[in-house]
C-alpha cells in the first residue's frame, strides 16, 4: 500500500493588493505518496509556484498568506507550525530547488560554506565532518573538481553546475520531499538531460518523493508517476501519467497536450487553446475554463464543477463527466 507523505487539502492562498484580498489558490487538493514523483502542470500564472511556496511557508516579503485548508506532512499540519518549527522542517525534511539557482545561492559566499551551513544545522556535524559531507554531495551530483569547487563562488560556475550545487544542497540532509520548481527551464537541453537523469537516480536511491513543477509535458512524461493539472488556482484534473497522456479527460488538459509539437508527429496544424488565462481579480462565474472551452454547455456558465472521481482513481472537475462520477470527491 502506498503511504501518504504530503496531503494538501482545500488550500486557499490570498494576496493583498490595494487593501483588497485577492484569492489565488481556491481550494487546492492533492497528495504525494512516499517515493512518488508528482508533476504539477498548467499555464503561466495558474498557481503552481504559489502552491509550492505555500507548502514551504515561504511568503517572505510578499503579502501572501494561507487563509484556508491544511497541508499535512507525515500527518503533521504544516500550517500550524511556528516560524522556527517550519525552518527546521525546511532543508531537513522538505527541500526546494528553484528555476534560477542564483536566486537561492548567496553570491558572496563560497560554495562549500553554503553547502555546509544546512548540513551543520540539521545533521549536527562538526566542521570537518560537514566539509567531508559537502564534498561527497558535490561528487554525488557529478561535479568533478569538488575539492576545488567548494572554495569557489557561484559566479565562477556554469548554469548547469550551479543547478547541480542547488541539488546537492537540497539533497544534503536527505529530505523526504523535494520540491523542484522548473529546475531545468533555464538550462540547455543537453544539460537538462544530465540534471533530470541525476534527479531520477537520486530519487530512486533515496526513495524520496518529488513535487516537480514544469510547463514541459515531455519532462512530465519522462519523470512523473502521477500528474496534477492546475487551472486558475484550482486542480482541474489528476491522473496516473499513462492514463493522462493516453486519454486526457478535462478539455483544458486535452488542449494542453494537443498544443505540444512532438518530434515525428506529422500534424500540419497543432491544437491550441483560444484566449488567455483569466485574471485572478476578474474570474468568470461557473467553470473558470468556460470562456476558452470548446465543449462548453449551459450549466458550465452557471455552476462551477466539483472534482469527480472517475475510473482508475482519476479526478476531473468538468461537467462533461457528471454522469460518470463514481463518488463525489470533496
Amino acid at each position: 500500500m502506498s503511504e501518504k507523505l504530503l496531503q494538501v487539502e482545500q488550500l486557499q492562498t490570498d494576496f493583498t493588493k490595494d487593501k483588497r484580498k485577492i484569492r489565488i489558490l481556491h481550494g487546492v487538493n492533492f497528495h504525494i505518496n512516499k517515493g512518488e514523483v508528482i508533476g504539477l502542470v498548467g499555464e503561466s500564472g495558474c498557481g503552481k509556484s504559489l502552491t509550492s511556496l505555500s507548502i514551504m511557508g515561504l511568503f517572505k516579503g510578499t503579502s501572501g498568506e494561507i487563509t484556508g485548508g491544511n497541508i499535512r506532512f507525515n500527518g503533521q499540519d504544516l500550517t500550524s507550525l511556528n516560524v522556527n518549527e517550519m525552518r527546521k522542517m525546511r532543508g531537513k525534511q522538505i527541500a526546494m530547488i528553484f528555476q534560477e539557482p542564483m536566486t537561492s545561492l548567496n553570491p558572496v559566499m563560497k560554495i562549500g560554506e553554503q553547502l555546509m551551513e544546512p548540513i551543520r544545522i540539521h545533521l549536527n556535524l562538526n566542521k570537518k565532518q560537514a566539509k567531508e559531507h559537502a564534498v561527497s554531495m558535490l561528487k554525488k551530483v557529478g561535479i568533478a573538481r569538488s575539492d576545488e569547487v567548494i572554495n569557489e563562488y557561484p559566479h565562477q560556475l556554469s548554469g548547469g553546475m550551479r543547478q547541480r550545487v542547488m541539488i546537492a544542497m537540497a539533497m544534503s540532509c536527505n529530505p523526504n520531499l523535494l520540491i523542484a520548481d522548473e529546475p531545468t527551464t533555464a538550462l540547455d537541453v543537453t544539460i537538462q538531460a544530465q540534471i533530470l537523469e541525476l534527479m531520477k537516480q537520486l530519487q530512486q536511491q533515496e526513495n524520496m518523493s518529488i513535487l516537480l513543477i514544469t510547463h514541459d509535458l515531455g519532462i512530465v512524461a519522462e519523470m512523473c508517476d502521477r500528474v496534477v493539472v492546475m487551472y486558475a488556482g484550482r486542480v482541474v484534473e489528476e491522473a496516473d501519467v499513462f492514463d493522462l497522456f493516453e486519454k486526457p479527460k478535462h478539455p483544458y488538459t486535452q488542449g494542453l497536450i494537443g498544443s505540444v509539437p512532438k518530434i515525428g508527429d506529422k500534424r500540419d496544424k497543432l491544437d491550441s487553446i483560444k484566449g488567455n488565462v483569466p485574471d485572478p481579480s476578474d474570474m468568470p462565474i461557473g467553470c473558470k475554463f468556460a470562456p476558452r472551452c470548446t465543449q462548453v454547455m449551459p450549466i458550465c456558465l452557471e455552476k462551477e464543477p466539483t472534482s469527480m472521481m472517475l475510473e482508475n482513481e482519476r479526478l476531473c472537475s468538468c461537467w462533461l463527466y457528471d454522469h460518470e462520477r463514481g463518488e463525489t470527491h470533496v
Partner: protein
C-alpha cells in the same frame, strides 16, 4: 520553380571582449564560417544551445551586425558590407520578430502606431492609407480593430507576439527572421502562433529564417535545418534527414536529449559529459571533441571539413564522415 531568396556563404563575426586586469582584449568568435541558403517560401531553422551563435547569425543576415567576412545574398543582391544608406530596399524586404514580446514593443505607443511605424519609416503613404493597412493586418494576425487603440502592456504574451508579427508583416516582407518567437509563451499560446506563422507562409509565400533552441518546434515549422555548435553549423539538411537520419554526434545527442511527451516511449538517451566550452576559448580541432562520445585522436587537432552525405543537401562536419 522557386528561387533562392537567401544565400549566405562563409560569414564570420567576432566580438572583442575586454578581459583581465590589464584590459587585454580577447576575441570571441560568435559566428565562424557559416553558410546556408533558403528557397523562397520555405523555412530554414537554426537550432542549438544558448550562445552557439544563432541570434548573431540572424543579426548578420538582417544587417543589424556587419560580418567581417563572407557574403549575404538576399533576392539577388549582395548586402554583407553595404552601408545603412544603401540598405533601404533590403530593410523593406526583411523584417524581424523577436523572442520577448514584452521588451520589443514600445510601452508608450498605441498598438496602431506600433504596427504602422515601418510604414512611416519606409513609405510615403497617407495617414488614412496607413490606418487602412493596419486594420487589414490586425485581422490577418487574429486581432481586431478594438485592439488598435490600446497600449502593448494591456495585452497578454501571445497577443503581444501577434502585434510583433503584424508589425513585421505590414511591409509585406519577403523574408522574416524570427528569433525564438515562441520561446516565452505557454504551449497553448505557442501553438496558436506557430499555426499563424504557417498560415501566413502559405498565404503570402513568406520565407522564414527561424531561430530556436527547441527541437520539437523546429521540426514542426521547418523545411531545412542547420544545427549550430560554438559558432559553426555542424550539420544541415532537409528536416526529415536531420530528424530520422542524423549523422553528427552532436545532432544525435541533441535529439536524444529532448523529453518526449509520451510516457510509453522509452528511448536510448545519449547523455553528454560536461558543459559547453567557452566561446572565448574554443577547443582546437573539432569544436565538439571535448564532449563527443565518439571522439578520436584526429579530432583534437584537425578541424573536420564539411562533407556531403549521400542525400542531397545533407551536410555534416565530422571526421567520421570524411574517412
Amino acid at each position: 520553380m522557386s528561387n533562392k531568396l537567401l544565400k549566405v556563404t562563409g560569414i564570420r563575426k567576432s566580438f572583442d571582449i575586454p578581459s583581465g586586469v590589464f584590459g587585454r582584449k580577447k576575441t570571441l568568435k560568435a559566428v565562424n564560417d557559416v553558410s546556408f541558403e533558403i528557397m523562397e517560401g520555405q523555412t530554414f531553422s537554426l537550432v542549438g544551445e544558448s550562445g552557439c551563435g544563432k541570434s548573431s547569425t540572424g543579426r548578420l543576415v538582417s544587417r543589424l551586425l556587419t560580418p567581417s567576412d563572407g557574403e549575404i545574398w538576399i533576392d539577388g543582391e549582395e548586402i554583407s558590407q553595404k552601408k545603412e544608406s544603401q540598405l533601404k530596399k533590403m530593410r523593406q524586404k526583411v523584417q524581424m520578430i523577436f523572442q520577448d514580446p514584452y521588451a520589443s514593443l514600445n510601452p508608450r505607443m498605441k498598438v496602431r502606431d506600433i504596427i504602422a511605424e515601418p510604414l512611416l519609416i519606409h513609405t510615403k503613404l497617407s495617414k488614412l492609407e496607413q490606418q487602412r493597412l493596419v486594420s487589414e493586418i490586425l485581422k490577418v494576425v487574429g486581432l481586431n480593430e478594438s485592439h488598435a487603440d490600446r497600449y502593448a502592456h494591456e495585452f497578454s504574451g501571445g497577443q503581444r507576439q501577434r502585434i510583433g508579427i503584424a508589425r513585421a508583416l505590414i511591409m509585406k516582407p519577403r523574408l522574416i527572421i524570427a528569433d525564438e518567437p515562441v520561446s516565452a509563451l505557454d504551449v497553448s499560446i505557442q501553438s496558436q502562433i506557430l499555426n499563424l506563422l504557417k498560415d501566413l507562409q502559405s498565404e503570402y509565400n513568406i520565407t522564414y529564417l527561424f531561430i530556436s533552441h527547441d527541437l520539437s518546434v523546429v521540426e514542426h515549422i521547418s523545411d531545412y535545418i542547420g544545427v549550430m555548435y560554438l559558432g559553426t553549423i555542424v550539420e544541415s539538411g532537409p528536416k526529415d534527414a536531420i530528424f530520422s537520419d542524423p549523422q553528427h554526434p552532436y545532432t544525435k545527442a541533441l535529439l536524444s536529449s529532448v523529453p518526449v511527451p509520451d510516457p510509453t516511449f522509452r528511448k536510448e538517451r545519449i547523455i553528454l559529459k560536461g558543459d559547453l566550452p567557452s566561446p572565448m576559448n574554443p577547443p582546437t580541432g573539432c569544436p565538439f571533441h571535448t564532449r563527443c562520445p565518439v571522439s578520436m585522436e584526429v579530432c583534437k587537432t584537425i578541424e573536420p571539413k564539411v562533407t556531403q552525405v549521400a542525400l542531397d543537401n545533407h551536410f555534416v562536419s565530422c571526421h567520421l564522415m570524411s574517412s
